[in-house]
């Protein structure tokens, strides 16, 4: 079995732990866009980002669909779901639902690239032992 990957990124090393952080560009109204890092989280059902990014995309948080999300502590988080374009890594653009919330942190490790749509459109491989992860836009 052969799997090919077109991009590779090192795990971010914060001095204590390693995190698979992927550059993600959020594309809002018009040409407004913003690029940051998000944690590739295989345990997250959906993509979830801090609400502060929305301001820079020209979108209002509460114009999204109000929903709840639950973390591993089973506490509900209020989110607003927006359907936007994301560019994941270097080139793959996906239109997907992103839950924005003011109730999560704004560290890169709190911005979660979840499975819905993202894992349908991209293939990932993780090799923590060598500190690298890989992605490919074609499944």
């Amino acid at each position: 079995m052969h799997l090919r990957f077109s991009e590779q990124y090192p795990f971010h090393d914060d001095g204590t732990f390693l995190y698979p952080m992927c550059p993600v560009t959020l594309i809002g109204k018009g040409s407004q866009q913003i690029t940051t890092y998000a944690l590739v989280d295989t345990g997250a059902d959906t993509t979830m980002l801090h609400a502060r990014w929305l301001d820079r995309l020209g979108l209002r948080l509460k114009s999204g669909r109000a929903e709840k999300r639950w973390g591993i502590d089973n506490k509900a988080i209020d989110v607003y779901v927006h359907r936007i374009w994301l560019k994941i890594g270097n080139r793959k653009r996906v239109r997907c639902e992103v839950a924005f919330s003011e109730q999560i942190g704004d560290d890169p490790g709190d911005q979660l690239l979840g499975r819905e749509t993202v894992f349908d459109e991209l293939r990932f491989a993780f090799r923590q032992r060598v500190g690298m992860f890989y992605l490919n836009a074609e499944i």
Binding site: M1, H2, L3, R4, F5, S6, E7, Q8, Y9, P10, H12, D13, D14, G15, T16, F17, Y19, P23, T25, Q33, I34, T35, T36, Y37, L39, D41, G43, A44, D45, T46, M48, R52, R56, E67, R69, W70, G71, I72, I77, K87, G89, N90, R91, A99, D106, D107, P108, G109, D110, L112, G114, E116, A125, R127, Q128, R129, V130, G131, M132, Y134
Partner: protein, 139 residues
């Protein structure tokens, strides 16, 4: 894991040695991006695989990764993680040429980046070490 050295690394740019868990692993990296991971002889545990970085033709590498500003900024971060340590807990803006802004204020980094002529920098908060994260979210 063993590394497949039978294929000539024609498009390899450098050899990356990762020192993790007391072991040295040598991985051939192609321009920091294109790589082929072959999952061969996969064991029932799926833990053994062969990595080969030399199976993608150089021409395919160029097609796979057109240069973009966001990606270049990410590459700078990859190579200069140590330079970001003084900014732990702060917002930073990074372009392909390096750090173009830093602040404790989210909006201020964009202002600073724009002042330096960078409209769409890679923006993120530099993680503070030692915060073990357990993240995951369900719908």
């Amino acid at each position: 894991m063993r590394i497949d050295r039978s294929r000539a690394p024609t498009n390899a740019q450098h050899v990356h040695e990762a020192h993790t868990t007391g072991a040295t692993r040598r991985v051939t990296v192609t321009r920091g991006t294109a790589v082929s991971v072959e999952f061969l002889a996969v064991q029932p545990s799926a833990t053994q695989y062969i990595h080969s970085a030399a199976t993608v033709p150089a021409a395919a590498v160029q097609r796979a990764r057109p240069a973009t500003r966001a990606y270049s900024a990410s590459e700078w971060v990859q190579r200069n993680q140590a330079k970001l340590r003084p900014y732990r807990g702060k917002w930073v803006a990074v372009s392909s040429s390096g750090l173009v802004g830093h602040s404790t204020d989210f909006d201020e980094v964009f202002v600073e980046a724009r002042r330096r002529g960078v409209d769409n920098p890679l923006v993120f908060k530099v993680p503070t070490p030692g915060r073990r994260k357990v993240v995951s979210v369900r719908r």
